[in-house]
C-alpha cells in the first residue's frame, strides 16, 4: 500500500511540474506590470502610477529617473476601471511603500458596473491568488458562471496553442525591453492627433457612477490608511475629450471635497509643450515623444510638491539605471525599435 501511495504522490508531482510548464508557456504575456513589480527590491518605488493604458502608454518612469532620480513605476491594464486600479494598488502595497500614488482616471466616466470579460481576464492575469484577487473578481465579474474560469485562470489562455511562439518559452518573453521593465508601454509610431483647445469652456458636470464614487472613496481611505499622497490624474488625449470633460469636472469636485489633488493634463495641454503632429500615436495615446513631455511635466509637478529622494547612485536602484539606458537608446532611434510587441491593451 505504501508503494501505491508513493506512486500516486509521484504521479501528482510530475503532473504539477508539467502543469507549471504549461502555465508558464501558455499564460497571457501582455500584462506583465504586476508580475515585474514582484521582482523589484521591496520599498524602492517612491512614485506609483496606476490606471488604464492612458497611464502605462503615456508615462515613462525613465524620464523621472533621468531628471530627478525619482524611482517610479507604472501599473495597470488596458481599459482598467477604477475598481481594478484600487485592487492592483492594494496588491502593489504588499511590497512597496510609495510616497505618492497617481491614479489615472481616464475610465472614471464608465457607467457600466462591470468591465468586459477580456479586460478582467487580463487585469487578473498578473495578480496572485489571495484576498485582493477574490475581492477584485467580486467587483469585476458580472456573470458568476465564469467565476471558476477566473479562479483557475488557465481556461482563459489554454486555447492559445495556435499562437504560441518561441518567445513564450524565453525569460522576459525573449525581449530585452522587459529585462528591466518599469511598466511603460512604448509607442514609437506617430499618428497625428487633433487636440481640442477649448476644453476649459466645458464647465458642466456629469454624474459619476455609484461604483466609481465608491472606489474613489476607497482610494482616499487607502491613502490615509497607508500614508501615501493620492493624486488623480488625467493624461492628454484628444478623441472624445470634450465628451468626457464633464465627468472630469465631477471628478474635480469630488477631489476638492476630499482634499485630493487632481492633475487634468487636458486642461494644461499647451503647458506640456505637446505637438499634435508628433506626440500622438494610436487611439489617442501619446507617442514616445509625447510620453516624455508628459512625464517631464509630472517631474516638475512632483518636485514642486514633494521632496523626494534622489536615488541615483544607490545600488538597490540598478533597475532604474538600466531601464534609463535602454530607454535612451530607444529614444535615439525609435523607428528601429518600433512599438512594443502585441499592443493589445488599449482604452
Amino acid at each position: 500500500m505504501r508503494f501505491k501511495i508513493i506512486k500516486a504522490i509521484a504521479f501528482l508531482l510530475i503532473g504539477v511540474l508539467l502543469f507549471v510548464g504549461f502555465w508558464n508557456v501558455f499564460r497571457f504575456k501582455q500584462e506583465k506590470r504586476l508580475e515585474k513589480l514582484w521582482t523589484l527590491p521591496g520599498d524602492t518605488v517612491d512614485v506609483m502610477f496606476i490606471g488604464s493604458s492612458h497611464a502605462f502608454m503615456n508615462i515613462d518612469p525613465s524620464v523621472l529617473w533621468r531628471e530627478s532620480g525619482i524611482s517610479a513605476y507604472v501599473l495597470g491594464c488596458g481599459s482598467q476601471p477604477i475598481w481594478e486600479s484600487y485592487y492592483h494598488l492594494k496588491e502593489a502595497l504588499k511590497t512597496q511603500t510609495p510616497k505618492v500614488v497617481f491614479v489615472e482616471c481616464y475610465k472614471v466616466d464608465m457607467q457600466k458596473n462591470y468591465s468586459s470579460r477580456a479586460v478582467t481576464a487580463l487585469a487578473t492575469s498578473g495578480m496572485r491568488l489571495g484576498r485582493n484577487y477574490l475581492e477584485m473578481l467580486d467587483a469585476s465579474v458580472k456573470s458568476r458562471n465564469y467565476m471558476f474560469d477566473y479562479l483557475l485562470r488557465f481556461p482563459w489562455f489554454h486555447s492559445r496553442y495556435r499562437e504560441i511562439t518561441a518567445e513564450d518559452y524565453m525569460p522576459d518573453y525573449g525581449d530585452v525591453y522587459y529585462r528591466d521593465y518599469l511598466g511603460y508601454f512604448r509607442l514609437t509610431q506617430v499618428i497625428p492627433g487633433q487636440f481640442p483647445r477649448d476644453l476649459d469652456a466645458v464647465t458642466e458636470t456629469a454624474r459619476l457612477s455609484k461604483k466609481n464614487r465608491t472606489y474613489l472613496n476607497k482610494l482616499v481611505e487607502l491613502s490615509k490608511e497607508r500614508g501615501f499622497d493620492l493624486v488623480f490624474l488625467i493624461t492628454p488625449f484628444w478623441k472624445n475629450a470634450a465628451a468626457k470633460q464633464p465627468y472630469y469636472n465631477s471628478l474635480a469636485e469630488f477631489a476638492e471635497k476630499k482634499g485630493v489633488a487632481l492633475v487634468n493634463c487636458n486642461l494644461v495641454y499647451d503647458e506640456l509643450g505637446m505637438d499634435d503632429a508628433r506626440d500622438f500615436s494610436k487611439t489617442s495615446h501619446l507617442s514616445i515623444t509625447g510620453a516624455e513631455k508628459m512625464t517631464l511635466y509630472l517631474n516638475d509637478y512632483l518636485n514642486a510638491h514633494w521632496q523626494l529622494t534622489d536615488h541615483r547612485g544607490d545600488s538597490r536602484y540598478g533597475v532604474w539605471d538600466r531601464n534609463l539606458a535602454l530607454m535612451e537608446q530607444i529614444r535615439s532611434d525609435p523607428e528601429a525599435w518600433g512599438n512594443e510587441f502585441k499592443p493589445k491593451a488599449e482604452g
Binding site: M1, K4, I5, K7, A8, F11, I14, G15, L18, F19, F22, F26, R117, A121, Y146, F148, D149, L152, F154, P155, W156, H158, S159, Y161, R162
Partner: protein, 504 residues
C-alpha cells in the same frame, strides 16, 4: 451540473471524500442527498418528478410483493393475483409513461393535432403549457419501470428501504444520461455498500482513468467536431455532397464521443465509489451488421427494449412476419424515445427497416457470396461489412441530426446527388481550420487505438492501460490530461456544450 463543468470538479471529490469517511450505515443516505442536489443544480422543481416516479414505482413493488405473499399464503386465488399484479404493473407504467409523454411529447402531439385541424379548416389549439424538458426524464423513468417489471417477473424481491430505492433511481453518475441500470445490479450494489472495500487504489485509479478518457472524448473530439457539423447542417443547401458526407460522418463521430463519454465518465465515477455500472458502448462502429451495431450501441437501452418490449411482444420465437413486426415496433418506439419529432421516428424506422431487409435478403446475400466465392472470414470481407454498416448508420444519423424531417430529406437528397463542392463551403469554412483538423485527426487516432484494444483484446481503456508498463501508462495518462487541458473545448472562449443525450 454537467460532468464537463468546474462545479462537478469540486462536487465529485467532495462527495467521494465524505462518502469514504462517513459511517457505513449512512453512506447511501449521503449519496442520495448528493444525487438529489446534483439534479437540483439544473432545475430544483423537477426533482419532484423524480421523487414522484420513485414513490410510484416503490409502491408498485410493495403492492406486487403483497399480492405475491397473499397468494403464497392462500389468501388470494392465483387468477385474482395474476389479474391484480397486471393491474399494478399497468397502473405504474401508465402513470410514469403519462408523465413522460406529457413533458416530452405534449408539444409534438399538439403540433401534429393542430396540423390536422388546420387541414380540416378548424382553428388551432393554443399551447397553454410552456416548460423545458426535464433532463434525463427518459432515463430515470425507464430505470424505475424496469424495477417494477423485475419485481413483477419475480426476478428480484421488492425493496423495503425507500431511501435505498430512491438512490437506485437517482444515483447521480448515471441519473441524467444512463447507463439505464437494472435493479438486479445497482440495487444489489447499494445494499452491498457496507461490505465494499472503499480505499482500493487500483479500483480508484481505474475509475479516474475512465473519467479522464471520457473527458477526452467529450472535450477534445465531440465538442471540436460539433463546430463543423453544426455549421454544415445549418447551411447544407450551399454544400457539396463531399462536405455533406463528411459532416454526416462527423456527426456519427460526435454523437458517439458525446454519448460514450458521458457513459464512460459515469461508469468511472461510479467505479471510484465502488459501484459497477453496466457497459453502454462496445466499439459500435466496428460492427459488421446493423443487428451487431445495436448490440454494441447504447447497450443499456437496447437490452431494456429487448427485455421489456421485444420479448413481451413475442421476440423472435414467432413467425417471420411477426418477428419483423416486433422489430419495427421496437425501433419505432426507440425513435420516439430519442425525441419528439418525425425525424426521430424516421431514424428509428430506418434502423428497423435495415434489420428487416437484412433478414429478408439474407438468402440472396448468401447466394451472391457463394457465387462470387467470397471468403466470409477474410479480412477484406469483414472490412467491407464494417464499412457498409458504418455507411448505413451514418446515413441514418442524418435523420437523427436534422432539425426537421424536411431538412433531413433535403440533406439526404443533396448528399446522394453528388453535387460538387463550392469553394466557400468547403471543409475549412465551417469553424475548423487546418490546425483544428490536425488536432481532430490526432485525437481520432487515439480513439481508434483504444477502440482497437477494446475490440480485439476486450480491454476497456482502464484495463488496457493497467496492463501496460508504468512509464507507458503514465505517459498516456499525462498525454490525455494535457491534451484535454490544451486542446479541450472549455473555458470562456467556448460556451459549455451540454451532452446531446441530456435531451432524451
Amino acid at each position: 451540473m454537467l460532468f464537463n463543468s468546474w462545479e462537478f470538479l469540486v462536487f465529485f471529490p467532495v462527495v467521494v471524500l465524505v462518502y469514504f469517511l462517513i459511517p457505513k450505515k449512512i453512506k447511501y443516505l449521503w449519496l442520495l442527498v448528493t444525487s438529489y442536489y446534483f439534479y437540483m443544480c439544473w432545475n430544483p422543481r423537477y426533482i419532484l418528478l423524480i421523487a414522484f416516479s420513485t414513490a410510484a414505482t416503490y409502491a408498485s413493488g410493495l403492492l406486487l410483493d403483497g399480492i405475491n405473499a397473499r397468494q403464497r399464503s392462500g389468501a388470494q386465488p392465483e387468477e385474482q393475483a395474476i389479474r391484480r399484479r397486471k393491474l399494478v404493473v399497468a397502473g405504474c407504467f401508465l402513470i410514469n409513461l403519462l408523465i413522460l409523454a406529457f413533458f416530452k411529447y405534449w408539444a409534438f402531439l399538439l403540433d401534429n393535432f393542430n396540423a390536422v385541424l388546420g387541414r380540416l379548416g378548424f382553428g388551432v389549439i393554443k399551447n397553454r403549457f410552456s416548460f423545458v424538458l426535464p433532463v434525463g426524464i427518459s432515463f430515470y423513468t425507464f430505470q424505475a419501470l424496469s424495477y417494477t417489471m423485475d419485481v413483477y417477473r419475480g426476478d428480484i424481491a421488492a425493496e423495503r428501504n425507500f431511501f435505498k430505492y430512491a438512490l437506485f433511481v437517482s444515483f447521480f453518475p448515471q441519473l441524467v444520461a444512463g447507463p439505464i441500470e437494472r435493479s438486479g445490479n445497482l440495487l444489489a450494489d447499494i445494499h452491498d455498500i457496507p461490505n465494499k472495500k472503499l480505499w482500493d487504489y487500483d479500483r480508484i485509479t481505474s475509475g479516474l482513468t475512465l473519467m479522464l478518457y471520457g473527458m477526452f472524448l467529450k472535450l477534445v473530439i465531440a465538442d471540436r467536431v460539433s463546430v463543423f457539423v453544426d455549421g454544415v447542417f445549418n447551411g447544407f443547401g450551399a454544400c457539396g455532397s463531399g462536405v455533406l458526407w463528411a459532416a454526416a460522418g462527423g456527426f456519427a463521430l460526435q454523437i458517439y464521443c458525446d454519448f460514450a463519454s458521458y457513459s464512460t465518465i459515469a461508469i468511472g465515477a461510479a467505479k471510484v465509489m465502488g459501484f459497477t455500472l453496466m457497459e453502454n458502448f462496445n466499439t459500435p462502429y466496428f460492427a459488421r451488421s446493423i443487428k451487431e451495431f445495436w448490440r454494441r450501441w447504447h447497450i443499456s437501452l437496447s437490452t431494456w427494449f429487448r427485455d421489456y418490449l421485444y420479448i413481451p411482444l413475442g421476440g423472435s420465437r414467432c413467425s417471420r412476419w411477426r418477428r419483423h413486426f416486433n422489430l419495427m415496433v421496437v425501433f419505432l418506439v426507440s425513435g420516439l424515445w430519442h425525441g419528439a419529432g418525425w425525424h426521430f421516428v424516421a431514424w428509428g424506422c430506418l434502423h428497423g427497416l435495415y434489420q428487416v431487409l437484412g433478414d429478408v435478403l439474407a438468402p440472396a446475400r448468401d447466394r451472391i457470396v457463394a457465387l462470387l466465392r467470397v471468403n466470409r472470414e477474410s479480412r477484406a470481407h469483414k472490412l467491407f461489412q464494417t464499412l457498409l454498416t458504418c455507411a448505413m448508420v451514418t446515413v441514418a444519423w442524418v435523420l437523427f441530426r436534422a432539425d426537421t424531417m424536411t431538412d433531413a430529406v433535403g440533406y439526404l437528397r443533396r448528399m446522394f446527388a453528388f453535387v460538387p463542392s463550392a469553394g466557400e463551403a468547403g471543409l475549412f469554412n465551417f469553424g475548423m481550420d487546418g490546425v483544428e483538423w490536425v488536432v481532430l485527426l490526432c485525437a481520432m487516432g487515439t480513439l481508434f487505438a483504444f477502440s482497437l484494444a477494446r475490440y480485439r483484446r476486450h480491454e476497456t481503456p482502464d484495463a488496457f492501460l493497467a496492463g501496460r508498463r508504468l512509464p507507458v501508462r503514465w505517459a498516456v495518462l499525462y498525454a490525455l490530461l494535457f491534451t484535454i487541458l490544451i486542446f479541450g473545448k472549455y473555458g470562456p472562449a467556448y460556451e459549455q456544450q451540454a451532452f446531446i443525450y441530456f435531451q432524451f
